[in-house]
Symmetry: C2
Subunit: 129 residues, 2 copies
DNA sequence: TTAGAATATACGTGTAAAGGAATATAAAGA
DNA sequence: TCTTTATATTCCTTTACACGTATATTCTAA
């Protein structure tokens, strides 16, 4: 489980990361919001912490977990080499994500598709009038 | 092997994608440049094609593979939700990637670390004079 | 100091996927 | 047609990892 890419390959881990983007959360809060068994949450948090995606602080019996930026920046840096290539083809993405919506909606319980589409539209160049 | 994230979790596939960013390549060219057995290349290309990362055209007995943009855009869109969060912490990335260099250099045969660092520096804000 | 709450870890199991070796398919050229 | 080149696929084995269940650890509060 060396690389950041293997870490985020796991859907539950991506869900945890998306949850933590709003604010830090305890294990129990993650457990309830994502409806995963507690050992599952703890085990994924362990992996995420070892990989530097999150850090935790102690609050009584609770552990509060929050994001750390470095691995995300590393992923972004890897993606950067492809940006020149794809930036020409923005329109095709709309169709692609619409297809994803149809096929995978049930696997993405937290509306990330909608978020993706919204964000994508923001990066689209304005039509020249 | 549903999601784009699982596809790029495999290091050989990432190497193939990085190779194709310069230009389209035949299976044999990929095989030689990355020093992988031919069946390995073909199998990974199959996965990449099914996931929409690449497409191929026929050239005599050869198959020429090239990148397609959509999956990269989809990954970028997922990463976007974390950008607000990390954009404050740029300096920490330098240290992080320097550590990665020490630990993983032998696993990244194509100088992607150097490329990452270079690109990262480009996105760093200029010091105000 | 003991009970209960919150979290972490250990262990056993199933499964998916990556790799190697062999073989199949397809096209080109003699 | 037969051979050679280029690529794809099949079969088999191994390994890594995600999960469930059970148990351990850690801290609080009574």
């Amino acid at each position: 489980m060396q690389s950041v890419f293997e870490i985020i390959a796991e859907p539950n881990r991506r869900a945890i990361l998306s949850l933590l983007v709003s604010s830090e959360q305890s294990v129990g809060e993650i457990e309830h919001q994502l409806r995963m068994p507690q050992p599952t949450v703890s085990k994924h948090l362990r992996v995420l912490r070892d990989a530097g995606f999150v850090e935790s602080t102690v609050d009584a019996q609770r552990r509060l977990y929050r994001l750390k930026p470095e691995p995300f920046q590393e992923m972004d840096a890897w993606l950067a080499q492809f940006r020149r290539f794809w930036s020409a083809h923005v329109d095709a993405l709309e169709r692609h994500l619409d297809r994803m919506d149809q096929e995978h909606m049930h696997r993405q319980p937290h509306g990330s598709s909608a978020l993706i589409k919204k964000k994508t539209k923001m990066t689209r160049p304005e039509p020249r009038k």
